[in-house]
């Protein structure tokens, strides 16, 4: 009996993955349908964002990163931050509306609804890949790496995906129940970006505010990635804080989604 159940759940997980894969294919095929550049947009967007911030903050405002003694220290710092921020904001931006957009479908077709936010997170993978490739090649070119600490990066990417998925699950369900969430999130993401040390290094912030950054999960993640990839000194307590955030957001998002899932098929 137990064996049968685990077989069934194994089968279910496999189906889940198959469906997720097809949904990803559809997502990529249709996202740029009818556009001239097509998939190239997945590369243009992060590079353009990078260029804007680099010119604005790195050149015009000449922000410097203490502890990173290369010509392009700021660019590397910015890249490490964007490698965390861009896929995160991309996934959340798409994920929030994912359930609401398929409201009618969910009512008519039995399917695991978790797939929808998971597809949004999957959809941010190209941006993540592009950003990390840029970061690592630039680091090598600037002779900052490779270092042994780079071996932690895959784990950090997993942490980012769990964290993002948790939040996407939470926000997509919340938006489904209360449509205010979508509008609030669009605004909150802008604020959140500037509360995360991406375009500026933490060392530019007065010391007494530093511990506040532990309350920002993406800031924790960005700081750890900057630390691992570029060898920057890490703030005390940032790694345990990040671990805690992954558990809280991943588990909390999952729990909230499960507890509200029953309302999906039946919004009156």
């Amino acid at each position: 009996m137990i064996e049968k159940e685990s077989m069934a759940s194994h089968q279910g997980a496999r189906q889940w993955v198959v469906l997720w894969r097809y949904w990803m294919v559809r997502e990529f095929k249709t996202r740029y349908a009818g556009s001239v550049l097509g998939l190239a947009w997945a590369f243009v967007q992060p590079v353009a964002t990078l260029a804007i911030f680099y010119v604005l903050f790195g050149r015009l405002l000449a922000v410097r990163v203490p502890g990173l003694e290369t010509d392009q220290g700021y660019l590397l710092h910015l890249l490490a931050g964007l490698a965390v921020w861009l896929p995160f904001s991309d996934a959340i931006g798409r994920g929030v509306g994912s359930l609401a957009a398929y409201e009618d479908f969910l009512r008519k077709q039995p399917m695991p609804a978790e797939i929808l936010p998971a597809v949004s997170v999957g959809g941010s993978l190209p941006v993540l890949g592009v950003a990390y490739v840029l970061l690592l090649t630039m680091s090598v070119a600037q002779e900052v790496g490779p270092t042994a600490a780079w071996l932690w990066l895959p784990l950090l990417i997993v942490a980012q995906l769990i964290l993002t998925l948790g939040l996407a699950l939470f926000l997509s369900m919340a938006h489904f129940l209360w449509r205010d969430v979508g509008s609030a999130v669009a605004f909150a993401m802008q604020l959140w970006f500037y509360l995360t040390p991406v375009v500026y290094p933490l060392s530019q912030v007065p010391e007494r505010f530093h511990s506040w950054y532990l309350l920002n999960p993406i800031a924790c993640l960005a700081m750890v990635v900057q630390g691992c990839a570029l060898g920057l000194p890490m703030m005390a307590g940032v790694i345990p804080a990040l671990m805690l955030w992954v558990i809280v957001l991943g588990g909390g998002g999952w729990w909230f989604f499960r507890s509200m899932k029953s309302s999906l098929g039946e919004a009156l």
Binding site: R26, K108, S263
Partner: protein, 406 residues
């Protein structure tokens, strides 16, 4: 291959305002109304059986179908499903307009958990049934006509060869060819032993398809059993409801027009259509009739009250144009039929003047005024007429003569 409902109850939480849900979630105090959509549903759709759900709008049929399909969970109780389930609740709900037809098929396959070789088979079956060209399949679905879309959607929805098929009546869409084809597909699955659960307002369809049926009324199973019993019970309920309304409006009109002589209040008749039999020299219900063959039509109806009624029938073309219709009311005396029990009417067409084509029958039972429809069966029993002897063409033979002009 069965669906078993065990003590199903479904209640919806109705929130007056969206923020109520938030407050309730935060404070734990109830801030919603409970709407009971279904309660005490306890039955099994047996393996290989075709089971009908009937009832008024809003009685809970759709909720029950959705619970059977698994899109919503019952508040209490359990559903046990065995085998592969296909739900035709809404066709093409999972289609993406920007994606090509082909890719949409593959997506539907993945949605049903089909992969590998089975997916190729799935695609092949869908393509075959949809009758779409490979050129059309490579185009985005948004460029399809609604008919093409429906064909593809239906094909993809039934291509998994389900063990259990759940069909909502919303299915009766598309052109007649498509309707017939999809009905045939459902019948084919049924013949192969697929369990079918479907809901319909078309009682004629329920009667002719289902072994058993359930009448859902106000969220409960009012009656469940052999189709005939259940449908009859439902009909008499409908009749009572109608009679009730009619008595009310009758007394109303009495008050309004006291001076006017009014007809004696008639008891509302309850009559149902039994069957229609076509007879030619080739036998009963031949699939093909020759032009100018003698043909007889026999319609059996059963009356449950003393109310008087008329039987009207028409030969109809697939595009719903009537070719010829007649009624017991149009007879010389125009006397209505009356009396509890079976009634049979027979009409003889000598030398049937129809030319080649597809034709169907529509039958209506009307009350003694010939206005109120008591029962109907539209577009049933298609038959083909072949005109093999003459070269004239069209729908019907018109008597004519070529006249010499000087």
């Amino acid at each position: 291959m069965t669906i078993r409902f065990e003590g199903i109850e479904k209640t919806y939480m109705v929130y007056e305002r969206p923020q109520d849900r938030l407050w309730e979630w935060l404070s734990g105090r109830q801030r919603h109304r409970v709407h009971v959509a279904l309660t005490g549903v306890d039955f099994e759709v047996r393996s290989g059986e075709t089971f009908g759900l009937i009832g008024e709008n809003g009685a809970g049929k759709s909720t029950l179908l959705k619970i059977a399909a698994g899109t919503i969970r019952p508040t209490r109780g359990q559903v046990h499903r065995q085998g592969r389930v296909a739900a035709l609740l809404e066709l093409g709900a999972g289609f993406h307009p920007e994606e090509a037809g082909q890719d949409n098929i593959r997506f539907m396959a993945a949605l049903h958990g089909v992969q590998g070789d089975a997916m190729d088979e799935f695609v092949a079956r869908t393509v075959e049934f949809s009758e779409l060209s490979s050129e059309a399949l490579a185009r985005p679905v948004k460029t399809y006509s609604s008919g093409m879309f429906m064909r593809l959607a239906f094909a993809a929805a039934t291509a998994i060869d389900p063990d259990v098929l759940i069909v909502d009546e919303a299915l009766s869409v598309g052109d007649l060819h498509f309707q017939k084809k999809s009905l045939n597909r459902i019948l084919g699955l049924r013949e192969r032993g697929t369990t079918v659960l479907f809901c319909s307002h078309n009682l004629y369809q329920v009667r002719s398809l289902c072994q058993r049926a359930a009448w859902v009324h106000g969220g409960r199973i009012q009656s469940l059993g052999a189709t005939e019993d259940v449908v009859t019970a439902y009909e008499s309920h409908e009749r009572r409801r109608y009679a009730h309304l009619r008595v009310e409006s009758d007394t109303e009109s009495h008050r309004e027009a006291d001076a006017r002589p009014t007809a004696a209040p008639t008891t509302a008749a309850l009559v149902k259509i039994g069957k229609l039999t076509v007879e030619t020299a080739d036998g009963l219900n031949p699939a093909q009739v020759d032009s100018f063959q003698d043909m007889a039509v026999e319609i059996e109806v059963e009356s449950y009250t003393e109310g008087a009624f008329h039987v009207l029938f028409a030969i109809v073309r697939p595009d719903k144009d009537n070719v010829f219709g007649t009624s017991t009311q149009f007879r010389a005396q125009g006397e209505p039929l009356q009396g509890v029990g079976e009634h049979t009417v027979r009409v003889q067409f000598s030398r049937l003047p129809l030319l080649s084509g597809e034709y169907l029958w529509s039958i209506y039972v009307l009350d003694d005024t010939g206005i109120q429809v008591l029962d109907m069966a539209e577009l049933i029993q298609p038959f083909t007429v072949l005109n093999q002897k003459h070269r004239e063409f069209g729908i019907a033979w018109l008597e004519h003569e070529w006249v010499r002009v000087e």
